[in-house]
Each structure stands twice: as C-alpha cells, then as structure tokens.
Amino acid sequence: MLRLILRRFISLPFVILSVTFLTFIVSYLAPGDPILALMGNQRDPEIYARLRTLYGLDLPWYQQYGEYLGGLLQGDLGLSFRFAQRPVIELIQGGLPVSFGLGLTALSLSVLIGIPLGLVAALYHNTPAERLIMALILALYAIPSFVLIPILQWINYQVYLATGWSLPAAGWGRPEHWVMPVVVLSAASLGYIARVTRSSVREVLEQDFIRTARAKGLPERRVRWTHMFRNAALPILTVIGPAIAFLVTGAFVVESLFSIPGIGFLSVQAIQQRDYPVIQGTTVILALSVVLMNLVTDLLYSVVDPRVRLEG
C-alpha cells in the first residue's frame, strides 16, 4: 500500500505538467484574448498593442508557458489579468474552502441518503416501494439545477409573503446561506449515487456466490452484509471520487445563482475572460484534488476487497 502511495506521488509532477500544458495550449489557441476582454467595447489599437506587450502576451507560446512553469516551480501561480495584479493563488485560496465545504456537505448528504436508498431499492426489487424510490430519484436527478433553483426561490418567496420569514435568497457567510445551495447540489448527485448503488448491488446479488451462500443456509443478514455489500462497494466508491470534482466544477450554476464566492464560478469566468493564469491555477488545483481522491478511493478498494490488485 505504501508503494502505491509512493508511486502515485511520483507521477504527480507528470500529471500537473500535462494538465498545465494542455490547458495552456488550448486557451492559447482558442479565439479571444484577455486584453480585448478587459477593454470591452472601447478599443484603441495602440493601447491594445501596448498592453499585450506589458502582459507578455506578444511572446511566443513556448516562452509564455516557460515563464509560467518557472513561477510554478516557486509556488507562484502568476497574476490574474482581469483582477488587476491580484495573485492567482489568493483568488483560489478565497474560493477553494467555500466550494469544497459546499461540495463535501452536499456529497456527504447525498451519500448518506443515496446509498441507503439504492440499497433499499435493490433489496426490495420489483416492489412498488422500489419503483416509487426510483421514480422520485430519477425525477429529482432529471430536473436541471437552473430549474430547481427558481422553483425553490418561488417557494421561499411564498413563505416570506405568508410569514415574513424566509431563507436568504442568496449570499454567503451565515449558516442559513448553506441550506438552498446544498439542497440543489445534493439533488442531482443523490440520484446518481442511489442509482449506481442499486445496480451494483443487483449485479452482485445475482452472482453465484450469493446464491451459493443462500443455498448453504447462511442467515440472510450475513449474506447481505458480508458478501453483497463488500462486493458492491467498489463501483460505488468509484462514483464518489469523481463526484467531488463534479461538485467543484458543477457548482458553477449554483454559485452563480446564489452569489457564492466559490471556485467553480471563478474558473468559468476565467475561461470566458481568457484569464490564462487563473484558468491554469484552477485546473492545477482541480487536477490535484482528482488525483488525490482517486488515490483515496483506490486505497479504499484494497481495504474493502484485499484481493483487488492495483498498479500505479
């Protein structure tokens, strides 16, 4: 297990290098440029040319990328183009805890509710209970967040009209600000997790060793917990890892519509503004968290099922 961790950490620089390179080259090639985005409608060719030089955008791409890497080695993610001279690391530091906090809360909630729901649905296969759960979960899953949010806001407003009390419609800083965003974020991932849990468990239930165990007369509870859940756990774990990355990036609608100072929206805005240093910074952070989460889930695999052999 130590070897696995060690090897993953050795591959880390390679991952980061590839991520920054791909991101850089694609944002460099994509049309649009940070100076034009900065200047909006007003465009003066002379000022434009001067600013390009000032920001180093007139250099060939390999030189721009080289300078970025040089800074990265010293832990410097560069300065944002849009937010005049602000270090990218500072922008990310501000948003990261918010997005992760929100994402992890939503994830825990959807795991805590989604896995039991999926289990129940799998064990009570072909009963009205299962169909009801699945239909509800799928409906919740299929409602896009940009539809769910206005509906919640409307309900919130009706509550306000009736009682004079309501949840804050947006904003950040107080505990009650978390409620609506967490509900919206969990709604989708809850459906996904419940669905994958159900099918993984079904898959395992139909395997021979479960039938065999049952045939041997083992108590049903033991069959379920020692055989079924352990084997179904792997695919479920797999969903949880990437779900975190999803929550960070997928938070973009939620962060934007609830005015939350997170990182998801920061990165989408940076892409629209072609703010290269911020795009790269957020991508690196995201890549790190994905790699880390995958490492954790892989380690959990071997805890759950020691027979599973992992490379890498």
Binding site: L36, L38, L132, L167, V179
Partner: protein, 540 residues
C-alpha cells in the same frame, strides 16, 4: 415500506433544517443602505486607475473624489476643486483645490497628489487602459504612456492648492472626462507605500471609505469624516455583488436589499411587468444604443442601397414595444434621447417593406441569392433580438439570414479581426454602445469617423469626418457644435453607418423610502448629488 419511511425522514429533516435556518431580516434603520451591484463576482480593483468594469466605477464614485463631478442633471460641478479657470485659447485649465480637503486618513489633498494621480493613471507600469483612453487629450500623455518619460508634462502643481492642466486640443468635453474613473484623486503616500494592495485599505478622497472588503461577496463602506462635505448620515453602506440580476431581484423582494439594478445589468425584462406599478420601480433612458453594424468593405454592404434596404425592412416599433414589451425605446437615430444634441431632429429610415424591396432591386441584388450572416455575442436578450431581426429581414425582403452566436470573448476577438482584416471579418454584427460622459462626440466621432479604433465596420464618409472633426475641437459654443454634429448624424443615419434599433432603459428598483439617489442613463447609472441627503429605510 422501509423505503417510504426513509423518504419521509428525508423530507422531514429538510423541512426541519429549513425552519431552523429561517431567520428574521436584519433590523434596518435610516442609517443603513444595502446596495446590490450585478454582473460581477467582485470588482476588478478599487484603484481608480486600474478599474475596468462599469460596476467597479460605481463603487469608485462613492469612494474617490475627482476635481469635478457630475450632478443629477449630468452637468459638471465642483468637487475637490472649488473653482477653475479656462484660458481663452481653451488649452489651459487652472483648478483651485478646496481649502481643508483631506483624505480619509486625515492627510491633506495637495496639488502634488493631483499631479501624481494623473501620472499614475497614465503610467504604463499601472497596466491600465482607461487612463490612456480617456486622458489622451492631456499634453504629454503620449510620451508617458509610451514609456519615454516618467513625468506628465501637461499636469503641474503651481502651488499647494493650484493645479494646471494643459490639453492638446480645445475640447468642450474635457471637464466631463475628468469626472470619470482615472481622473479621481488618490493619496500618493498611500499608493506608493503599497502599490499593488493599497486599494484594499481605506485611504480615500471621497464621501465613503472601505471598512471591509469581503472578496467575492461585497464591501462594507463607512462615511469618510474628512470629506469636504459634512459626513453622510449613512453609517453603513453595504455593497453586495450578485452575478445574476434575477438573484438580486430575489433578495430585493424578500426584503434583503434596498437598491437593485444598473445600466449594464438592468432588472430582468421578464420581471418588469410585475414591478412596473410599484413605487420602488425607477426607469430612465439609458444613454446607450443597440445597433447592427455592417462590414462596409465587404460587398454587397459597401452599397448604401443594400444597407438602406435592410434598415427599411426593420420594424423597430414592433421589436421595442411588442417583443420587448416597452422595456426599451425604439430609435432610428444614433444619439440617444437625453444627450446634448438629441434635441435637434434627425430624419430616420422608416419601416417600409415595399421601399426596402425596391432598394434591394435597385442595387441589382436578387433576394433569393442574398445571404446575410448576423453575428452576436451570446448575452442577455441578444438572441431574442437577432431572432426577430432574422424573421423580419427574411419576411420583408425574401433574403436568407443565418444567425451566428459567438461566445463573448470570441465575439470581441472577431470584432478585432474585422477591424484589422475586413476581408476575413464579420459581415454584420449586433452590439451596443454606451457612454461614460454625456457628449455627442462619444457617440459620433468615436465610432464612425474613418478608421477610428471603434469603427469596426469601416464606415467612411469624408463630409461626416470633416463635420465631426470641426465640432470636436470647439471649446465652448455648444449650439454650434450641436449644429455640426446634427448634420453629421443625419449623414450617418441616411447612409446607415449603423442600423440603430433601440435605446435601453435603466430599469432599477430603489426602495421608495431611500432618499438622495439619482438614477441616470450613464454607464454607471447612479449619481448621489449630495451625500448629506442620502438616507436608508426606517425599520419596518
């Protein structure tokens, strides 16, 4: 059955969380004001020289004072300068600073600070574009911007309280330009102490200073006791950033905000009908115009008949009053109502499909083979509007129109291409132009003179150029300037330099009980003419 119980549990716990988390709205009184700024997650910078966003300039207007400022009628009035004298040739402005004017840290505002502020705004090391763009008339600005010198020769401190500014050309709108962002006066001591982070601290020259800046959320402003006017009655001014206008609306209607909407991000059009008749709704003409520009260097748009045909095929009244439900005002000219120069009439090209068809025929174009690609940046209501234009042109002319939606940054770079390389540029595009100072120069000379930086469609007319260039440098005779601009505008309208469609409305919500805030049609909508008269809402 177990599943049902689980589900019930989930619902019950959600309701529980909901009821626990619900909280009463914070108590309000007349000394608190909660002001939403939409379309951003954070202001770019609080340094007046570095800010680039309209929203940031709204905040900067509250924090930093300039030599002069605009009042609610958009006229220039004294701010940090108590008076000024313009030389007879219109080239030298001599300002006298107010006695006792001071920054929020108590240090006096000196003539040296003024000189330093202008230099800072034009210094290439600042890395800004607004200064070089707006202050280019100041003598010596080019040399400073180009990095040939570090001194701004056109701005000098005559003594402690006297500043002299020399300009290259006489200009009637130079004082108006000084009311805006990069001309605000900052403390040289504070900036040089922390060049990159000083804007986070509270040293300001205006009516308010920063108490806290919650990154990505908002600002808490408090009155600056050292401002030359008595301190504002507002003890806490909460500035709240909301990326989405609808979100701001939600906060307003659940009682959490007092001011919502701006010129760049007005109230969502879909919300206007339900608030139109409430006392909180304020609506005024925006000093901006939405238009379609054609690439005049690409056939057949080089033919004035073709451009006129498209203009006559456009039913602006239906667009503004039916499709957009009267939330905007149809226009067939360039200068928006409310701007100096808009009182002189211009004859537009009326909606007339029959005339449009005959013009197209006269141009020798077979509608069946005429294909127009109309590009636009995807944002706000743009798509609805171009879809209507497409239907109108197709129905009224029998031509075929393709819509080309572009992601915003791609759109601006395609405009840049169209300027630099017209042959490979856009055919026609839909966009908006708004002003930051109220002078016709900003609406005519800046956009349609041959080869000026914003003339992406390459419209060119020698007579238009001559008229506007003459008007630009007349220092004082406003009547004469308007006469010249009016002739120029008529040419551009008749030749369809731009096919203008409608003027926006600044639709905002300001709680009826709020006092002292004027809503204008400017780039950064709000003007507070007298900070001492500013009042929030009493506790309900």
């Amino acid at each position: 059955m177990k599943a049902k119980r689980n589900l019930l549990l989930v619902i019950v716990s959600f309701l529980l969380v909901f009821s626990l988390a619900a909280s009463p709205i914070a108590a309000q009184d007349t000394t608190t004001l909660r002001w939403s700024i939409e379309g951003i997650t954070d202001v770019v910078s609080l340094d007046p020289a570095r800010a680039t966003d309209a929203q940031g300039f709204t905040v900067i207007g509250l924090l930093h004072a300039g030599l002069v400022r605009l009042n609610g009628a958009l006229e220039v009035e004294p701010d940090l300068a108590e008076s000024w004298v313009i030389s007879d040739d219109g080239l030298t402005y001599t300002f006298t600073l107010r006695e006792g004017a001071a920054f929020s840290d108590g240090s006096p505002v000196t003539a040296e600070d003024v000189v330093w502020s202008f230099t800072h705004a034009l210094d290439p090391a600042t890395g800004a574009w607004t200064g070089p763009y707006l202050l280019s008339n100041i003598a010596g600005s080019d040399e400073l911007v180009a990095g040939e010198t570090t001194e701004l020769s056109g701005v000098t401190a005559v003594d402690e309280r006297t500043v002299q500014i020399t300009v290259k050309q006489p200009s009637a709108y130079f004082l108006s330009q000084l009311t805006f962002g990069p001309s605000k006066v900052v403390s040289s001591a504070a900036v040089t102490a922390n060049p990159d982070t000083w804007d986070q601290a509270a040293v300001t020259s205006g009516a308010f200073s920063v108490q806290t800046w919650n990154r990505g959320q908002g600002l808490v402003l408090v009155p600056n006791p050292n401002y030359w006017q008595p301190a504002s009655q507002i003890s806490t001014l909460d500035i709240v950033f909301n990326q989405d206008s609808e979100t701001a609306f939600q906060l307003f209607r659940t009682g959490e905000l007092d001011i919502v909407g701006g010129a760049q991000n007005p109230l969502p059009a879909a919300r206007v009908p339900e608030v139109r008749d409430t006392p909180d709704f304020v609506s005024t003409n925006a000093l901006n115009v939405r238009y379609v520009a054609f690439n005049n260097l690409l056939p057949p748009f080089d033919n004035v008949l073709v451009r006129q045909a498209l203009a006559h095929a456009t039913d602006r009244e239906t667009l503004a009053n039916v499709v957009l439900d009267g939330t905007v005002t149809a226009t067939d000219r360039i200068i928006p109502p409310g701007m100096p120069g808009s009182e002189a009439p211009v004859e537009g090209l009326a909606f007339d499909p029959a005339l449009a068809q005959s013009l197209l025929a006269e141009a020798g174009i077979d509608p069946a083979t005429f294909e127009v690609t109309l590009s636009y940046g995807v944002e706000g209501d743009n798509e609805r509007i171009v879809t209507v234009l497409q239907a109108m042109w197709q129905d009224n002319l029998g031509i075929s129109v393709t819509l080309d939606p572009l992601e915003l940054s791609t759109f601006s770079s395609r405009l840049n291409d169209t300027y630099n390389d017209p042959a490979n540029g856009l055919q026609a595009y839909y966009s908006v132009w708004g002003t930051i100072y109220p002078d016709p120069q900003y609406f005519l000379s800046q956009i349609l003179q041959t080869d000026v930086g914003n003339n992406n469609g390459h419209y060119s007319n020698a007579e238009f150029d001559a008229l506007t260039q003459e008007a630009d440098v007349i220092p004082d005779d406003l009547a004469r300037r308007i006469e010249l601009y009016n002739q120029a505008e008529q040419i551009a309208v008749t030749e369809v330099g731009w096919l203008t469609l409608f003027n926006g409305q600044v639709n905002v919500l300001v709680r009826d009980c709020v006092e002292g805030v004027e809503v204008t049609g400017l780039f950064s909508a709000y003007v507070v003419p007298d900070y001492t008269a500013l009042r929030g809402c009493p506790a309900s």
